[in-house]
């Protein structure tokens, strides 16, 4: 599963814990154009719930998918506006 979409940028926040995965994701999304997808690589297990909650509560972003790959959590966020 996953990666059925073009990834415009990859953000590596492995090793960083709350609130860094969410805050860095927001900063990286700001740099993207509408329709582009950001891949976020994190090791913080809280990032699964946090990035989901952030995407839910933030306009202009859609969480496409979250994948657990070994001890890395991969998040795919699209900038929609």
């Amino acid at each position: 599963m996953s990666e059925a979409f073009d990834i415009a940028e990859t953000l590596d926040v492995k090793g960083a814990s709350c609130p860094m995965p969410v805050v860095k994701t927001k900063q990286a999304i700001d740099e993207l154009a509408e329709g582009e997808v950001l891949e976020v690589l994190a090791t913080d297990s809280g990032s699964v719930s946090d990035i989901d909650g952030w995407a839910e509560g933030t306009s202009g972003v859609t969480l496409l998918e979250q994948v657990e790959d070994g001890d890395v959590y991969k998040h795919y966020v699209e900038k929609t506006a």
Partner: protein
């Protein structure tokens, strides 16, 4: 229903003061005016606001307001953190590097108070926590302040406390807002969806 809209009494009623009905053009103009006002209110509501009052300056208590503020900014919220009393030390460039964790009176510390009160114990407890924070990949206080300011969080330094502690306005991180007091904090709280005292 009350209204905050500054308007004269006549325009609150569809009829003129002399009891005559308004013309269709006047009604249309009025509807447009109201639609604009409603759109403005809806736009305002989109922007969540949060005000945190940070009163504590110990190493552990510096984290919650900064983590919440930087995360809220990532949500696109309008965030103000009002730092008062010991909370002001978080914004003090020099003191924020040296915030201490108290080993005494902290039931989470794995040592009795009598031992915790010995000289150097606070420093030791602080160093242990700093090491844990580093190992865990948790951001430093310094990083969280920079991150918050970069994202447009307004970090306010209580003017009364600055004077009380005999600090200088230049002692704080750049972009910290000085010259504000309780009234400013209350004004932000009144406008906020979320208000927290830490």
């Amino acid at each position: 229903m009350s209204t905050d809209t500054p308007s004269d009494a006549e325009s609150d009623s569809p009829a003129g003061s002399d009891g005559e009905s308004l013309t269709e053009a006047q009604l249309r103009a009025r509807i447009e005016e109201l639609e604009e006002a409603v759109a403005g209110l809806e736009a305002d509501d989109d922007q969540q606001k949060m005000t945190i009052v940070a009163t504590q300056g110990s190493f552990d208590m510096a984290y919650p307001p900064l983590i919440l503020a930087s995360t809220a900014a990532a949500f696109g919220w309008d965030v103000v953190v009002f730092h008062t009393f010991w909370g002001l030390d978080i914004l003090h460039e020099e003191k924020s590097q040296n915030l201490q964790l108290s080993a005494v009176g902290n039931p989470n510390m794995p040592m009795p108070n009598a031992l915790a009160a010995l000289p150097g114990m606070d420093r030791m407890a602080t160093r242990m926590m700093e090491k844990r924070i580093d190992d865990n990949g948790t951001a430093t206080i310094d990083e969280l302040i920079e991150l918050s300011l970069d994202q447009g969080v307004e970090l306010q330094a209580c003017q009364m406390t600055i004077e009380l502690m005999e600090y200088d306005e230049d002692d704080f991180y750049d972009d910290v807002t000085v010259g504000v007091g309780a009234a400013t904090a209350l004004q932000h709280m009144a406008e906020s969806d979320i208000q927290l005292l830490v």
